[in-house]
Amino acid sequence: MTNSAHTMWGRVIARVLAGTLGAYGTGYALAGALAVILPLSRVDRVSAATGVSFLIMAACSLWAGCAHRLVWVWGVMVGVMAVSGLVVLCGHITP
């Protein structure tokens, strides 16, 4: 394969990974964070957070599939995952 073919396949794989694993990871992490911060009863927090996370996942997949610059997509997704992780951690530490 030529260099350009390698680059093309690399981009395709990065896009597919962003649209699948990246989107799921973002939704997964965000659901955990929302479950910590939403001002609802504990069982409602789980339902509401997960319900919202599905929409976020779909939006992330769509964005990853269409974005001109994939680096922005990955940047935002990793950022959301990191912040969500911190929120969950703080939620566990706070008595």
Binding site: A35, D44, F54
Partner: protein
């Protein structure tokens, strides 16, 4: 004004539609069939054609007698009382391995018939987790969930990628060139039920939200997910303690039934669950019928099974729980009666049609561009077996349900074998024959299986005519629908392939 991301959205629509379309078609088709799961069961259960609905008290006594004899040590009993839609008394119990064994109690000459999977539940199982069992069930559920999210994205990207939005939505030009006709059909089938497609894909995810994204439940409940399920679903009987309590005589189920009926009225109880019968920790749950409500959550009355004391009644639902219940109920469609179920089935079939035309469009477009790559060739073959082969496999289950003797012990295990066998044969056939010949031959097989399906009734002494005479409307509707589909299939095959072309291949 040029719409941004038009080219990217089109590419996204094509690729995601291509790779997940093969799964989505099956999920949508079986979902449309599963809407009528009770009616399909009745179509298959011709041996119970003379079953008469019995009074709840008699039904409970009959069920307790059967379950006490056949499953005294089971940790969970389920009794589904007969109603207008489903006149059969169904009982089930949980085996030591965790599976449920279901039996239908009959007042006729054969007192009971044990069946785990029937026609309706077969399609339900494919729709929910692609028939994958035991450890693979999670993978099946996950794949269907991925297909659901993909459907949401594909719907949005499909709408976005049309330039003349409203002009193109309602245009169908079958007389134009073939590509344009397929594209118009794809657009019409996708857009007319668009709100349904968006709703059904999202509500499908919401139904099993804790399985698809378990992070929120894990963060709040840790490893104690059974507590979450008890709080979220309000079920006592489903949450089994690790050990049974000491043995204790059971309180009379009929007395508890009378108490529940005095609050809800006669005929309002749909299901009864009994956890750990004949033990101190026994729990009896009565579930109110939900044919007159959209929400999926059953109203419940929970009793201590040993003392008869009321533990819980009508668990109050919070706003979020009610929203979740309504969204799940919208997907489960136990409400609204036959008219709503027909609307769901037709909209689902339109969705399946939209996916099928989309898959055909992809290969046509590539053929026009003369790009006969390996992917396009494989896609052409897969289209044949994923669309027509899958439909033939579904029909073969109908045939097996009628032709396999219902007294066979292995009958339940044979339905998936028949389904997968026919599907595998269609895959082999599609890859061994030229594509056009594959379409024509599998199309002819589909039409034959559909058109001759009512004849299987003769074998079970329930022909279309006798079903009409005896008022067995489930049998009549399924048989007539099969004839109509065969007719429509014949017209489509003739229009698409043409008489001369069919002969030529």
């Amino acid at each position: 004004m040029k719409r941004p991301y038009l080219r990217e959205m089109r590419a996204f629509h094509s690729w995601v539609g291509l790779f997940l379309g093969w799964i989505l078609f099956g999920v949508l088709l079986t979902g449309s069939l599963a809407v009528f799961h009770t009616e399909l069961d009745q179509w298959g259960l011709t041996e119970l054609s003379f079953a008469k609905p019995v009074a709840p008290e008699q039904a409970v006594a009959q069920s307790v007698e059967y379950l006490s004899t056949h499953a005294p040590d089971a940790r969970l009993w389920r009794i589904t009382l007969p109603d207008e839609r489903d006149p059969y008394l169904r009982v089930a119990y949980k085996t030591a391995s965790g599976g449920m064994v279901e039996a239908i109690l009959n007042s006729g000459p054969q007192p009971f018939i044990v069946r785990n999977e029937q026609l309706g539940s077969f399609f339900l199982l494919y729709h929910s987790h692609l028939l994958l069992k035991r450890t693979l069930t999670q993978i099946g559920l996950f794949l269907v969930g991925v297909a659901g999210i993909a459907m949401l994205c594909v719907c949005i990207s499909g709408v976005w990628s049309h330039i003349k939005v409203f002009a193109e939505f309602f245009t169908f030009r079958p007389g134009k060139n073939k590509h344009r006709a397929w594209l118009d059909l794809h657009t019409v089938l996708g857009i007319l039920p668009l709100p349904f497609h968006l709703m059904i894909s999202y509500t499908g995810l919401i139904m099993l939200y804790w399985l698809y994204v378990p992070s929120a439940a894990s963060v709040i409940y840790g490893n104690n997910l059974s507590t979450f399920r008890q709080e979220a679903l309000g079920t006592y009987s489903m949450v089994l303690p690790a050990q049974k309590g000491p043995a204790a005589p059971s309180f009379s189920l009929t007395t508890l039934l009378h108490d529940a009926q005095s609050h809800w009225g006669q005929g309002a109880i749909a299901k009864i669950y009994v956890r750990d019968p004949f033990y101190k920790g026994a729990i009896v749950e009565f579930w109110h019928e939900r044919a007159h409500q959209v929400g999926q959550q059953y109203a419940r009355r929970v009793y201590n099974g040993a003392t008869g004391q009321l533990i819980l009644q009508n668990m109050p639902l919070t706003f979020v729980a009610r929203v979740q219940s309504v969204l799940a109920g919208l997907h489960w469609v136990e409400w609204g009666g036959p008219s709503i179920r027909w609307c769901y089935a037709l909209a689902g079939l339109m969705g399946a049609g939209s996916v099928a035309t989309g898959l055909i469009l992809y290969t046509q477009k590539q053929s026009r561009a003369v790009q006969n790559t390996v992917l396009v060739t494989v896609a052409r073959k897969l289209n044949v077996c994923a669309l027509l082969g899958f439909s033939c496999a579904c029909l073969s289950v109908f045939w097996a349900e009628r032709l396999l003797p219902y007294t066979w012990a292995q009958r339940n295990a044979l339905l998936p074998v028949v389904f997968l066998g026919v599907w595998f044969a269609s895959i082999v056939h599609a890859f061994l024959t030229p594509t056009r010949l594959g379409w024509v031959q599998q199309g002819c097989l589909f039409i034959t299986l559909c058109g001759l399906l009512p004849l299987t009734g003769w074998y079970r002494h329930m022909s279309l005519l006798s079903a009409c005479m005896s008022g067995h409307w489930s049998v009549v509707v399924v048989d007539v629908s099969a004839l109509v589909i065969a007719l429509l299939g014949g017209v489509v095959l003739y229009r698409v392939c043409g008489y001369k072309r069919v002969l030529k291949v």
